[in-house]
């Protein structure tokens, strides 16, 4: 047998060696250290991120992650400092409410070239991209969503002889009245009358048919707003179906109230699922859609994004930010944290549709609204609208006066 190499064999070896030496191949295989800044601080978030990183490492063994955790409150300060000092990370987390600032300081790169070629682009609704988009160009890839819904205590509902969670605001009120028993320190609803509660009141206005902003202009319908605000404040002032501490209760208080059995229902988003399911037994906790108002069912869907901040490892950076949108990583994050996939295609995965707790979130994705992105409106809700509502709770204003004050301040904000 002739052992001499054939001409074809030599050519094949030559081609293989050339391929190994090709710049593209060398780039793909050369180790990359990729930095990522985020504000995942809780234990479940850290666990979810660890799982995601391990999965990413298995897929891209040449990319190692340098992950930095920054508390949410200090996140923008650190990003600002890094931009000014030109030491931006490769990739970073972008909350929708911070996008305008991060875009303005040029902390994010335009991802149009990558997104245009990406086969998962259509897995997201156009509204999911909107939170990190400028002039039609994407500056972030949706990473996960906070889907607003309602948590309820199944055992309290059974005890009160209620067949299921309420579907409309009227049924919601009736359930609150039936469950409330101050002697047992039990109330129907954990109202967030303190910090952060403005979102629910804004949702309620929309559910009662009053828009807030139309084409950048104030558009509150006084009659409908009065109806909405009266409904919400009556829970405290008239029906007394919320804890007496409600005007001061913010997120932590409503969570502890629900976990300890003081309240039977709370409104929040999928982000607290992990904590609540860990604290309560499966026969105690249920999830459902936010009750429907007289006009529509209003519930926010807030998306969070990952962006590329630095050009130096762009290919690896894109691999990381797009990796979050794949089914397995998305579901791993959901399992650890309760943070819902931003991709509606992933939301159809049997691992999600098979879990009854997730069902209302999947449904909400089809009708949920993005937060109003008109500059100044979120701050108005928090600093001007909600204090007017709190005045009603403490008896220093009437519903009509409060709504008039809300309308005046919104006009001023947007003028």
């Amino acid at each position: 047998m002739n052992n001499y190499p054939t001409r074809r064999g030599i050519l094949q070896y030559g081609a293989a060696l050339a391929a190994l030496g090709a710049p593209g191949f060398a780039r793909a295989q050369s180790p990359v250290r990729l930095s990522y800044w985020h504000h995942f601080a809780s234990q479940s978030e850290q666990k979810g991120l660890r799982r995601l990183t391990e999965m990413f490492r298995a897929r891209y063994p040449n990319i190692s992650m340098a992950i930095e955790t920054i508390p949410n409150a200090e996140y923008l300060t650190k990003v600002t400092a890094s931009v000014v000092a030109n030491s931006r990370p490769d990739t970073c987390m972008v909350a929708a409410e911070r996008f305008a600032d991060m875009y303005a300081m040029k902390a994010l790169l335009d991802l149009s070239p990558e997104v245009a070629k990406w086969d998962r682009k259509a897995d997201f609704k156009p509204s999911a991209w909107k939170g990190a988009e400028r002039d039609g160009k994407p500056f972030g890839v949706p990473a996960y969503s906070f889907v607003n819904w309602m948590y309820y205590r199944k055992d309290f509902f059974e005890e009160a002889g209620l067949s299921g969670p309420p579907d409309t605001m009227q049924e919601f009120l009736e359930a609150c009245i039936k469950i409330t028993n101050p002697a047992k320190n039990r109330y129907g609803f954990g109202m967030r009358g303190g910090g952060g509660g403005h979102q629910y009141l804004m949702d309620l206005l929309i559910a009662y048919g009053s828009p807030i902003v139309v084409d950048g202009k104030a558009a509150i319908d006084r009659t409908k707003a009065i109806e909405a605000v009266r409904f919400f404040s009556d829970l405290y002032t008239k029906y007394k179906v919320v804890p007496p501490s409600a005007p001061n209760d913010s997120f932590r208080q409503i969570m502890e109230g629900f976990k300890t059995g003081q309240t039977a229902m709370i409104w929040h988003h999928t982000g607290s699922l992990a904590e609540l399911t860990a604290a309560l037994k499966p026969n105690q906790i249920g999830t459902t859609l936010r009750p429907k108002g007289p006009v529509l069912r209003a519930a926010r869907v807030d998306n969070l994004y990952n962006g590329v901040s630095n050009d130096r490892n762009r290919e690896a950076a894109w691999n990381w930010v797009s990796f979050w949108a794949e089914p397995d990583p998305s579901i791993a994050l959901l399992e650890e944290t309760g943070y819902f996939p931003a991709s509606f295609k992933v939301a159809q995965d049997p691992r999600i549709t098979g879990n009854p707790l997730y069902k209302p979130a999947i449904e909400t994705l089809s009708f949920g609204q993005n937060a109003i992105d008109t500059p100044g409106v979120e701050a108005w809700g928090q600093n001007q609208m909600f204090p007017e509502f709190q005045k009603i709770l403490v008896g220093s204003s009437t519903v009509e006066d409060a709504v008039d004050a809300m309308m005046r301040s919104l006009d001023k904000t947007l003028s």
Binding site: S42, S44, P71, T80
Partner: protein
Amino acid sequence: MIVGSARERRLWNVATYAIAGFFGLTALGPIVWLVLTSLKTEADIVTAQGVVYWPSTLTLANYRELWDQTDFPTLFRNSLSATTLTVVICLVVGTLAAYALSREAFRGRQPLLMGLLAIRMFPAVMQIIPLFIIMKAIGLLDTKLGLALAYASFLLPMFIWLMKGFFDDLPGELEEAARIDGCSRLGAMWRIALPVARNGILATTVLIAISAWNEFLFALMLTTGADTRTWPVGLQLMIGDFQLPWGLLAAGGVISIIPVVVLFAFVQGSMVRGLTEGATKG
């Protein structure tokens, strides 16, 4: 001085102890509560019955979890290094500066003192970005020395002002006598002024050390990796947007105050003397 019958004096004593006891309880209450919370299970911290003052079971689980979940030894070591470096910088630079400002009447002395005071008036968040840029430019970003220098930027003015006050109270004649005997200016400071002002130095150093130990914002902004992050940052990173591990945080809080308590236990006598020096004259 209370003058009156024995009965009146006794009444005054009771009132004095009652008031002192009240303030003592007010000061100790939160610490006792912190320690108790760190020894409680989650079920005893957040309960349907309201506040549980005494836990049904005492547990060290929070401390164990804290040890497992955070790189406690590294964080603690980093805090210790940054604090020690800050104290050294302040002691060397601050003592010399305070002495010079106390003893020498040079041009620009008053504006310099006012400038040092003005630095303390800026919120820390305003100093962060310039400091970040400087540290990056000189290659000290994400280093313990860089962190200590950043701490010194706002602690040194305080140190100088306090120490200047202590030096001002010392009679200059003592050092003049030493100089007549052949001491240099620095020698007179080293041999005469510093030993006399020892309690003041100690008191000021403890205040500086506590501030550096507890500092959070600079430590967060000027460090990036686990190798340089300090204990207050590690503690803060346990708080999520939607989760708050009360037990773990309480355990972390207890651990944070231990070094301060130990330090204070050792130096409390000198520190109190230092703080009260100059309060009585004549």
